[in-house]
Symmetry: D3
Subunit: 288 residues, 6 copies
């Protein structure tokens, strides 16, 4: 057991990090295990509330994950697939939006219970995220799958300034007010860029980028934007990691200072990244 004094000294160790990020904006893509496991959930929410109280401005973008599939099944909605990718038709989109809405308010309630003041938003609120239709690889119609056309960050800025933690569902608003489902990593990156955030943190279910996938100790703790093409070519960055890394690259190019792909299965991964020297996961930074 630690003495009170030892605990105080650990608080003191956090001071340089608190100073460093004081008043800064950090956008967190929240998803995966960290959104399912209730202990992890609690830990992430605590990290966000703690950050807010010590003067940092967290902004959350969340995914929907297995809950969407579950609800589609319950409702007996079958999905059409094109080239192996699910097409988001109108009734699927309706379910996506309902499930995301419910998850969104659950996150808000958790933040509130921990003493934060969460505000749940979707990209449709105040036209926060204007979406455009996104076609499949061979330009097939994927239905209501969207991409970010524009971010209007004023509403986020207003609620952040008033002391709230914004929690954003990745639904965009199409030209006629119709809803589009957008990849949550992409939304997080676009929001981080629009806010000129200091950090973009993407929570995943892997350790980060491993030099040797069979060796969990081979984590690449920092990679530069210019090294990425070679890493993709060599297969070190591959599969679902490629779009995540691309989000990071776009954010860096858009003015975000550092971006991180963290292991959301580690409790308090965000706190560890922000408040300690270690750094966990892989940081993607600009070349300079």
């Amino acid at each position: 057991m630690l003495t009170a004094l030892e605990k105080a000294e650990i608080l003191v160790e956090a001071l340089p990090y608190i100073k460093k990020f004081s008043g800064k904006t950090i956008v967190i893509k929240y998803g995966g295990h960290a959104m399912i496991n209730s202990r992890l959930k609690q830990a992430v929410m605590t990290d966000l509330v703690l950050m807010k109280y010590v003067g940092i401005n967290p902004v959350v973008v969340h995914g929907g994950g297995p809950a969407i599939t579950g609800m589609l099944q319950k409702l007996g909605i079958e999905s059409r697939f094109v080239n192996g990718l699910r097409v988001t038709d109108a009734s699927t989109m309706e379910v996506v939006e309902m499930v995301l809405g419910k998850l969104n308010k659950e996150i808000v309630a958790l933040l509130n219970r921990l003493g934060g003041r969460g505000v749940g938003l979707s990209g449709k609120d105040a036209n926060l995220i204007i979406a455009a239709k996104k076609l499949g690889k061979d330009r097939q119609d994927m239905g209501f799958v969207g991409q970010v056309a524009q971010v209007n960050p004023q509403l986020i800025e207003t609620v952040v300034k008033e002391g709230y933690i914004p929690v954003i569902a990745p639904v965009g608003s199409g030209p006629a007010g119709e809803s589009y489902n957008i990849n949550a990593d992409t939304v997080a990156g676009a929001v981080a860029t629009a806010l000129q955030a200091d950090k973009l943190i993407i929570l995943t279910d892997v350790e980060g980028i491993l030099a040797d996938r069979s060796d969990q100790t081979s984590l690449l703790s920092t990679i530069k934007v210019e090294e990425i093409p070679a890493l993709i070519e060599r297969g070190i960055i591959q599969g679902g990691m490629i779009p995540k890394v691309e989000c990071c690259v776009n954010a860096i190019k858009g003015g975000v200072t550092t971006t991180h792909i963290l292991d959301g299965r580690v409790p308090h991964a965000i706190l560890l990244e922000v408040f300690t020297d270690k750094g966990i996961g892989t940081m993607v930074v600009g070349d300079k």
Copy 2:
């Protein structure tokens, strides 16, 4: 066809009403037919956007209506009834919240398309509406049916001041962050009181309160709070109208200037009420 000049003169006729309500807050309970019929929907939303542009601050509280029942059916969730009233168990509440969330963002999208800037909120956002459990008439457990324990209007005030139209789903936040389904009329009344609104407008599917229910020309256009007990006793106010009138009475007692039970089946009913001399439906006012 009207000439341009005749149209201009009609605009001019609205001036006294615009002046009267300039800078005032009007809370609208939106539900019933006006939420289903697409032409009525469009008309309500236009009224709200127009009000906002001419300097009035509308705040919307919406219901869920048939969409909830439809979704419960699709999901095969059967309801338990106590004394004829549906018990809101956990899975029902989940559906309620999902459907309300989707309707909420639909309203927002419609406002946005018409040039307004809607922001969809639930009572859980920033603990806007703190709920307490509401028991049945014989103190039975009705599950997640709630009543308003407290309204924290700061978030609404912030978004109104920044030029947004807040749209609120009637979900309250319980002591442990759990969701409660609250009657939307009640929420509208409580929000109007918390904001010290100038007007509370409840859209219904009837003409208002009729002196003789079989005679649609017998509309009582104004009733005073003190007259209400007698009207209930005489059966002129009865059934579902009783709680609506009670919401009005509570709002009046809480400081709202006037309250209105309007026929939402009439297009632009809100505009007619606010911008013309006629007044439609029944106005409930204080005794003085």
Copy 3:
């Protein structure tokens, strides 16, 4: 007779225009018949108050017209003419200033009675309009006839921001504080430029610019700055219309978005121009 609903729909038709000009500044040169006929006067003032209430910022510059001549006659002040133009000597200038001052406060009182909050100013207040002597065509001394040397718009901006409608008499302040009589169209154009107004509207006593002066249906509804020299050469723009068009051109070149020469004999001409699709009179726009 229109039903209340038809009236509501006409209000709704105005919404796109209200949105378009929300928060914008519109400078109106007020003169001619619209300043004499009491029904027209009332209509112009109503238009201004309505604009202010729906979030547009009107700024009025008025002329003096026949009232000045009337007072000069009553006082038996005879005018000296140089090349057919009246010389403004000291006693004439005194009368000009007195009559303009009285008209100015009359306009203010009308605005106030209609629920606006007018503030009457002359170019001497807070050195709003610094004047320089204007010589005649052959450089003759025309007395206290002035031109605009500089506009100091801070006082106008202050009163506009506080919700007032500024009403400006076209008197400028010379180097020693002496008064100069400046053409009201010129003052309106200079004020519109200084405020970077969205619109300059000049009320006249003609339909606008006619392609064929004998044919009132030959109105040129839009002319571009680059077309003007040819129109003058062909005699289509001529006489007193030439300086008015020049004011428009200067305002356009100074950053005003659109300028309009309207027929002030039409009731609600301003409202028709601003709130309907028709557009009336002639609009002068930049080439792009």
Copy 4:
């Protein structure tokens, strides 16, 4: 000739007075000789500008004096008298307003030339002074002679806060927007009360109140409100001085700290009153 040092020491002597009135409002009724003699005019205006620059807020209310009579004569308007008092009919009122308007802007121009920033207003601007009809002693109709019904000081406060010196003509706005001629002393007193001014200064053409009217050294330098009835009874305060003293009494009762009846024939009388120990003229103060 004074040395520079001696001059510096005189500046230093003013410091306690500058401190005392820093940020305070002083309302000055400007009229009489001080408005006719050009050297006195210049001195008064300099005093006002100097006060403004050293952090005091002067507000000017001016009279019209002989200029009105002159113009009525020039225009051949004959006045009807009731019990020896001139009736202000419509054409007389028109002249009053014109002449006051011209004097108003002359004062503004003088202030501007001395480096102040004057703004000329009448009681009609923004309904600054709401007037009611004032009947004669025997309740005769005196035409457009008014009394102050209400002062709306917001416009004055706005321009004072923005660094301007407001100059107010004593014209009030009647129920239908018609103009009323109000005694300038009365207006000054009402404005001082509405602004909760620190001082009301009335410039007159006498030394102040003399204990013995034949002895100019018998000046009463301070009189208390409670002493006034006896002084009137004894004939020490009499004639035109009575209403001036009543203005002072009303202002004191309304919350103005001190009121002064000064000899406007003394150059820099205002400065001497405000910045020196002497005090000149008669000060009327509350009983406490």
Copy 5:
């Protein structure tokens, strides 16, 4: 050695305390060993900077201690004693002020080096602390020994609001601007009252108030104001502790929420008090 995760969990444990004191003001009397021992010094300063960064507003009042005696000796200034108490004559006061000034800036420099932004003030700055002469027990003249007559907290509030940590030397300003030496505990209590602080913390060189002075485990962790007279009578509070407890009582009566007598010899005593459940030393609270 702790893992990063264990450290994160300790940070998380501090969250409830950070929330509790967010935006609150805490006045710390800094003196004794904590001002001499360099490791303790560093710990106190770190605690202050950490508090500031997590949104709490510390205000420091420091003593002078042995440094003053040292400098008096070096300068060969001998002290006169009255009833055993040192009289502060003019030359002694000069030394007091010089030494306090130097210590004051040393504290500021330490805060700055740790990333805070300290501002060193004495009670003479902006007349922060108006002093009155304090006589000895038998009303002897003690020279420039003062008591607090008035605190003008505006300057402190200004610097706190701008993000600085004010550090105040206990010198008061007498009627003629002369300096008075005031007991630092007294100044801290008066400042806490003037700021309506949430906490007053007095750092001492003892464990707190012990029920049995020979038993360090007999610490009274909380005492109520009403219990104090009995504790003094029983000799449990005695000697130099009596005036410290009186400062606490005065602060409590003046509106400060809680007051603390802490053992400044414990590193991070302030942090332990504010951020942990233990509480250390003795807390003096109101009776309610």
Copy 6:
């Protein structure tokens, strides 16, 4: 003896100067005789308070002068000299800081007594002045003699905006928080540049720069930056005047409008410079 009117006219003469410097910042280096002679002291402080009240923002930087030497002697601290210059070792620096701190608060107390609100600061407060070590001419170690590395003027700006007069002791903060003694003229120049002051005034004990040192009537009242090298070469500027002139040149190059070397032995020298036409001492201006 002057009449009250003559005094008023002298106040009026100051108006153009008050206007000219209204809202401007003037940095005054205070030292020499003006800091020793009590009548001169009083005069300087009065000048500062008067300037503040009439809307000018004085900022004071003071020296330490003979008081430091006196205290070093009293403490028996002997100084080591290198090439004739005193080395500031640690114990000397301690004395410097103590004496400067005491003088600083004395100035503040004087300002306060005269009705100003002084705030005493050193360069260590909020890291106002970051110092770097300054080596001797032959790069010898001079101990804690510093030069200005950076000025952080935010704290000065904050206190000026809130109505205080900042009084700054010329102590800079080194990399580890250690104190450096910096020449007060240099600090004044650097502060004036950082604040983009309108004027820098250096009070000295000479008349200014004399063309012929034996002839006190040969004062050069204005010299241009470009003329200075020649004046140095010709020996007209020499000795201790050279660094003072260099401070002026640096300030001019850094954006200060005018700089002045004044004779502090003349009472009210600052007031004479700022408020009269004469100008006293030597003004150093840019070439344009």
